[in-house]
Symmetry: none
Subunit: 155 residues, 2 copies
DNA sequence: CATAGTTTTGAATCATTATACTATAGATTT
DNA sequence: AAATCTATAGTATAATGATTCAAAACTATG
């Protein structure tokens, strides 16, 4: 239950501007998840989400992400070297051009991303062990965005 | 006044782990700035600081876009993955958790450390060829320091 | 300098979030 | 199976943070 709920939370905060935990709770309820504010608070802590002061003067919850500088240089590396990204449960698989996996993996490691337990790189493949399905989904989503946008930010 | 105070706030949250606005307020007072929690709250909003759930279970204030320097992120990787370090003459042997050796080795390579001739990683073991006994000793010492100084934090 | 407008601030309060405590369900051991 | 442990989640409350409102401190302009 916890995993599904946290996964849904990630989905919700990506799709909506959510200002408070109560608001998030409402949306969770609307999706059929029953929980309390206390639980949401704990989920937020585990997911390492942050409440950021938005530009419009309001607050919203967002995923913690990599810094801008890093993401720019990493973006270049990723978009030139990565050929495919997929995942199954708590394992993300990144395919790269031959010989590039080590470099990409080091870059990925340097982001010290929450939810990532460990990585191992071969020659053209990286396995990323994550803490959960939702962590995998989040990572894949962010990486794809990084590659396509060449920029990543709080969303 | 506002500018100086906000500047000091940035300085304070970079140098300290500050968990609450009250705590920040105390430090501000100690620096000769008189303000109230309300003002601090507003400053935080303007500066777009975030309260992030830290890895140690505590919260802390941090800049929205955080750049962790290389040594910090490597420190994290090393401290989570490395289980033992030893050396004999010009060979350092690093034992890691299963599957982590490649990642650790890539991180180690990325430091381009002087005195290191080459590295090779298996599944849970890394061999580091160095130029001399003393190069080995230095590397081991530095790695151990990096690991013990495992405070991984946004700064 | 006087006045109007703007910005900043504090006090009090309201709103939000974190956590201590407890209960329960599932797993593990004896 | 009974006993013990572990993880999860709810309740109630404490802790923390945001905001309203009014006053003070600035700024600009005639």
């Amino acid at each position: 239950m916890k995993i599904e709920r946290q996964s849904k939370i990630l989905e919700l905060i990506k799709q909506n501007d959510i200002e408070t935990q109560s608001e998030l709770l409402e949306k969770l309820n609307a999706e059929g998840f029953s929980a309390t504010q206390a639980t949401v608070s704990r989920d937020i802590k585990e997911l390492r989400l942050v409440k950021i002061p938005g530009s419009n003067g309001a607050y919203k919850y967002a995923c913690e992400t990599v810094s801008e500088d890093e993401s720019q240089s990493n973006s270049y590396l990723f978009s030139t070297a990565v050929t495919n990204i997929d995942y199954a449960h708590a394992l993300v698989v990144i395919k790269t051009k031959v010989g590039m996996a080590q470099a990409v993996c080091a870059a990925l490691d340097s982001t010290n991303r929450a939810g990532v337990i460990g990585t191992i790189a071969g020659d053209d493949t990286i396995f990323v062990a994550t803490r959960s399905d939702s962590a995998s989904a989040g990572l894949v989503s962010d990486l794809k965005k990084l590659i396509s946008d060449k920029s990543i930010s709080f969303s």
